[in-house]
Symmetry: C3
Subunit: 446 residues, 3 copies
C-alpha cells in the first residue's frame, strides 16, 4: 500500500480481485475496522479509507457489506458501452466487433439470481448500519457496475431485452447521511441504485442506463440532490423515483428512454424537478402521486415520441394517452415554463380516437400551471434496426403530416382551486371554471 488508509484491490493480500472483488473489499473493510477500532474522544477519529479499483474486470461473487462511514470506493473509468445494442446484433457478427463488454474499472455482478422482492440480496454493494450515528460519507466514484445479462421473463421478449435479472448495483438499507455517487457507470442491472432513508445525498454526473430501474430513493428522506446525470431505465422501471422525500432537487439531468417514467414521485413534498431534459416513448413521463405537494416543475423539456428501434417495437408502459405526459395527484404544486413536445402518429393514440393529454391534474387542489408551451405533431412512426441512427433520425424529424389536436391541460373533478394560465387555448384546456382559475393563452387576433 502506498500509504495508510489507501487500498488498491489489486495489491491486497487476501483474495483475488479478478475472481471475487467482493471478498477482497470485505477483507479490506475488516482491516479498516480493526485498525480504526479505538474511538478517541480527544478529537481523534475513524477516518475511514479509500479503496481503489484500477481499470480492469473484477468479478463480484460475494456481496460487499459496507458498515463503516467515510469509505470511498473509486475507479478510473465509468466504462459504459451499450450492451443492449450489442445483444441485439446477430451473434455471428460478434467476432467483427471491436469489443463486446463494458469496461473501465468494471465490477461484474456474478451473484446468484435473487428473487422478486429480494433486491437487497442481489446487490453488489449493500450498505447497512443500525444504531447511531447514521452511516455517513460513503462515496462511490468513477467505476462501472455491470449486471452482464438479463434473463427471460416469460413475456416473449428476448432474454437480453427484459431488464430483469435480480441484480442491484448499490443498495443502502438504513438511514444514511452525506453519501455521494459520482462519475459512476451502471449497466444491465435490474436496479442500479436503491437508497433508503437518505439525508443530503448527492447523485451527480453519473451514467446510469440500460438498467431496469436507475435511481430509487425509498422509505423517506430529505435535502438530497440528483443532478447532472445521464439516465435511462427500462420500460418497466423508474429512471428517477422518490417516495416520501422533502427538499429533493432533481435538476440538469438528461433522462432518455425507455423508462416507464422519467421522474416518479410518491408523497414527495417541497421538491424541485427543474431544468431537466426528459425524453420518453410513453405517456406518464413525470408522475407526482400520493399527495405529492408544493413541488416545483419548471423549465423542463419534455419530449414524447415513438420507440424507433425494432427490438422494442410494441413494448410500452401500459398507460394510455389520456394519462398526461405530466400527471399530478397532489396540491399546491407549481408547473411553470416547461416545453412539451408530443410527436406521435395519430393512428397510435390510445384509446383510439382520444385526444392526448399533456398536463393532467388528477387529484388535489391549489396547483399553479403557468406558461407552459405544448407542441403536438402528427408524424408517421418510423423504425430501424440501428438504434443510434433511428433515435437521431426521429429526434431531428420536425415535419408533421399535420397538426395534432391535444388537451394541453386537463383538470379532473377530483382536483380543484387550481390556477391555469397561458398553457393552452380555450379549446385546449379542459377544466371546470367554477372551481378553477383560468386564463387562456392568447390566440391570433385576440
Amino acid at each position: 500500500m502506498p500509504s495508510n488508509n489507501y487500498y488498491d484491490v489489486t495489491m491486497w493480500p487476501v483474495g483475488n480481485p479478478a475472481k471475487d472483488v467482493g471478498e477482497v473489499i470485505n477483507s479490506i473493510i475488516a482491516d479498516i475496522k480493526e485498525r480504526q477500532a479505538a474511538t478517541d474522544v480527544n478529537d481523534g477519529g475513524k477516518p475511514g479509507a479509500v479503496i481503489y479499483l484500477p481499470p480492469g474486470d473484477y468479478h463480484l461473487r460475494t456481496q460487499v457489506l459496507i458498515d463503516v462511514s467515510f469509505l470511498r470506493i473509486e475507479g478510473s473509468g465509468h466504462g459504459f458501452t451499450s450492451s443492449s445494442i450489442r445483444f441485439n446484433v446477430p451473434e455471428d457478427e460478434w467476432p467483427d466487433l471491436h469489443e463486446l463488454w463494458p469496461g473501465g474499472s468494471r465490477v461484474i455482478v456474478d451473484l446468484p439470481a435473487a428473487g422478486d422482492g429480494e433486491e437487497a440480496k442481489g446487490a453488489a454493494f449493500y450498505v447497512e448500519r443500525n444504531g447511531s450515528p447514521r452511516i455517513s460519507s460513503v462515496e462511490f466514484s468513477n467505476f462501472c457496475i455491470d449486471g452482464l445479462h438479463f434473463v427471460p421473463d416469460g413475456s416473449g421478449l428476448r432474454a437480453e431485452n427484459t431488464y430483469v435479472n435480480g441484480k442491484t448495483g448499490i443498495y443502502a438499507a438504513t438511514a444514511n447521511d452525506s453519501f455521494r455517487v459520482t462519475g459512476m457507470g451502471f449497466v444491465y442491472l435490474e436496479h442500479a441504485l436503491t437508497i433508503y432513508h437518505a439525508d443530503a445525498l448527492s447523485i451527480h454526473d453519473n451514467f446510469i442506463a440500460e438498467c431496469g430501474s436507475c435511481i430509487e430513493l425509498r422509505g423517506w428522506g430529505q435535502a438530497s440532490k440528483i443532478t447532472d446525470n445521464l439516465v435511462g431505465a427500462g420500460f418497466k422501471g423508474h429512471s428517477i423515483y422518490a417516495e416520501n422525500h422533502g427538499g429533493l432537487l432533481v435538476t440538469a439531468n438528461n433522462v432518455f428512454p425507455r423508462g416507464a417514467s422519467s421522474v416518479h414521485f410518491k408523497g414527495v413534498t417541497r421538491s424541485s424537478v427543474t431544468n431537466n431534459r426528459l425524453h420518453s416513448f410513453y405517456p406518464g413521463m413525470v408522475l407526482l402521486e400520493d399527495n405529492s405537494s408544493e413541488n416545483l416543475v419548471a423549465t423542463n423539456h419534455f419530449l414524447r415520441d415513438h420507440e424507433p428501434w425494432t427490438p422494442f417495437l410494441g413494448v410500452d408502459n401500459g398507460l394510455d394517452d389520456l394519462t398526461g405526459l405530466l400527471s399530478i395527484s397532489g396540491s399546491n404544486n407549481s408547473v411553470v415554463g416547461n416545453h412539451f413536445s408530443e410527436v406521435i402518429d395519430s393512428e397510435s393514440i390510445r384509446p383510439a380516437g382520444g385526444t392526448p393529454v399533456i398536463i393532467r391534474l388528477a387529484a388535489g387542489a391549489g396547483n399553479f400551471v403557468s406558461n407552459n408551451h405544448v407542441v403536438a405533431l402528427d408524424v408517421s412512426a418510423k423504425s430501424s434496426d440501428s438504434c443510434f441512427a433511428a433515435q437521431v433520425d426521429a429526434l431531428l424529424t420536425t415535419e408533421a403530416t399535420e397538426g395534432l389536436a391535444v388537451t394541453t391541460v386537463m383538470v379532473d373533478s377530483a382536483s380543484a382551486r387550481n390556477t391555469v394560465l397561458d398553457s393552452g387555448s380555450d379549446t385546449q384546456v379542459v377544466l371546470d371554471k367554477a372551481v378553477n382559475a383560468f386564463r387562456a393563452t392568447p390566440t391570433i387576433g385576440m
Copy 2:
C-alpha cells in the same frame, strides 16, 4: 514520491502530517518553489503540483500559505458527518456511537483562536500573492476541513451550538483567477470559504454545512459560479454571500437551514440565482441589497418553515415576517417562476397580527416580478430531540390547520416603476398602481 510534482503528505520527509499537516504542506510548497524557480520564456513553465492527503486525521497547527499557482490539494473523502447532532447527544451515550468525528481526508484545524475580524489569521489555508499575474488555478478537492468545536459566545447557547470559533477553512486574500473548490467537506468552522476578488471561480459539488458562514465572495469579482453544492450555515451567518460581483451564477444548490440567509447579495449585478432549492427557518432567505441590479431570480424553490430541533428552539436571525422571504433593494431585477412555501404557525408571526410578506421590493426601480406561486399554510409548530426525524417530519407535513393570509408581493414607496404579474391576487399584492404596473393572478370566476 511516485513522480515529480506529485506529493503525498504522508511520505514527505519534513514534519509529521498527523501532528501538523500545515508544516508539511508549507515545506512542500517551499520545495515546489525552489525546484520551479527558473522562468523559461521558451515556453517552459512553472507547472505547480498536486499535494495528496490520503484518508486520515491531520491536525493543522501551522497555517498553510499558498502563493503559487497551479497547486492542487486533494484528498480521497469529503468526510462530513454531523458534529452538531453528535454534540447534542448526551455525553454518556457517546461510547455507544459508531464514531464521534468527521472523517475522510480530514484536516483538523488546531490554530489558536482568532479574534473578531481576524478571520485571515484563523484560516487553515491562506492564499495571498500580490503582483502580477493574479494567482491562478489553485484547486481544493475532496478532503475535509473540520473546525472541531464551537465555543461559548455569551448568548446562553451551549458552546457547541454557537457557530463561533474564529476558525476559517480557506481564505483567499488577493485577486485570483480560475480557482476551483470541488468535492470538499467543511464542518464546524466559523467561516468555511472566504474568497476576495475572484475571477472565474468555480465552487462546485461541495458539502458545506454546520459552519457559521459557508461561502463568502468578498471585495469584488466576476464571472464565477457556485453550483451543485449542499450548503447550510449557522443562524448568524451566510450560506451563500457575494458583494460587488458581476456575472455570478448561483444554480443547482440545495441550501438547507439554518443560515441567517440562504443567498445574500450586496451590490451584485447581472447575476443569476436560478434553479436552487432553498430552505430556511427564518424570513430574509434571499436578500438583494445595496443596489443589487439586473439579476435574475428564477425557478427557485423557497421553503420557510419552523425550526423543529429542540436545541435551537427560540433561535432566529432577528428579522420579522414583513421582511419578505425575498427582499430586493435594487433595480431592474427579474423574479420569475419561483415557488414559495411559507409554512408557519400563525401564532408565531412577528409583529403579532402582521401579514407575512413573501416578495418585498424595498427600494429601487424597474424590477419585473412574474409568475411566482405562493403557498402559505398555517400549521402547528412541532419539535423533537431527533434532528433528522424532526426535519423529515416537518418537511412532509402539508396539512394546514387553515389557510394563512400573506402579502405575496409588497412594493415599498422607495421602489417604483416595477412590473408585477401573476404573482398574487389583488388582495395579496400591495403596491401603488400609479407608479407600478400590475396584473393580478386570475382568480376563480374571473
Copy 3:
C-alpha cells in the same frame, strides 16, 4: 506501474514525456491494445486503461490517436491562467511576473501548423474508430491543453490576439458514445473541443477560454449535455456550437466574452438552453438557425455590453444591432423567463440611428415567447489597459446616462403563428398581429 491498466506517462519506458508526450501515449495505447487483444465471449472484456499525467510540462510533438474504448486520460490540474493578459503585458515587464505560462498537468501542443480546414491534423488528441460498436467511454479529466501562441492572421491584430494557430485540443472524428470531458483546462487553441457524432456525451465542469472556438458538436448527435462549464471563445469563434443534435442539454454554464456567439445551434431540435449566464460584447449571442425547432430557451441571463479592454477595441463579430441578442430561424421553440440586459453606448449602435433588437424571430412558425424581461441602458463606453479591472468595472456599472429604446421582440414576416406574451410593451414589440398572437406586458396605469 503500480498496477495493471494504470499508466503514468513519467514512468513509461518508451519516449520522453517532457519532449513528446504524444509518442509516449501512443506507445501506451499500443501496449493496451496488445495486452487486451483477446476478446473473451465468456464475459471477459477489454477494460481499457487510465493514463496519468502528473503536474508538469509535456510537449506534444506527435498526435495522439485514440481508437480504444474505456480510455481515461487524467491529470492533476486544469492549469488555466490567462495567456491573453500576459501576451498583452509589455515584454520588458515579463521578468517581473510570477509566472508566464499555464500550468498543472499541461500538454503543450507543438504540432506543425495545420492549414484552414485541417483541424483534424492539428489536433493534440485525435479520436477515430470505424466499424462497430462505436468507440465508448473515452474520458479526459483534469489536465490542461495549451496551444501556446496565436499567429498573425493578416488582420492587423497583434499575433497573439488573433485566436488563430491551426491547433485543436481534442478532435473526435467518428461516432462515439458516453464520452466524458470533465475538469479540463483549454487555452490558446484555435479549436478546443470538436466532437462529431456524439451520443450521450458529457462536457462538464471544464474551463475552456481564450480559444478560437471552445465546444463544437458537429455532424449530428443526441442526448448529450454541456453543463457547468466556464467558457469563453474568441471573437471569430463559437463558445458553444451544435449542429443537427437532438436532446442536447446546455445548462448551468457561465459563458463569458468574447465569442462571436455564446450558443449557436444549426438544425438542432428538442434541446434546452436553460439556466446559463451568458455575456457577450456583440449582438447575436444565441442563434437558433437552419430550422432549429422545439427547443427551450429559458431562465438564462443575457448580458450584452461593450468590450472594455483596449487590445480588442474595435473588434467585433460583424453583426449589427438589429440581429437580436437571441435570433431564431426555426419553429415551435419556447423562450421563457429570460433576463436580457443590453448595456451599450447609443452612439455605437449599428446601423446608426437604429433601434436595437433583443429577441428576433427571423423565420419559422409557432414559437412561444413569454415572460422575458429586457433592461436596456445607454452608458458611455469605457475601456482600460487592465482586463480584469475593466471587466469588473463595466459589469458593476448600472447607472445609465439615459434609458435606451429597444425593440424587445421583432417578428419578421418570414416567421408566423408565434405567440408573444409579457415580453415587452406595445411599442417595444414589432409584429404582425394578424398572423401572431400577442399580449403586451402591462404598463403603469393599465
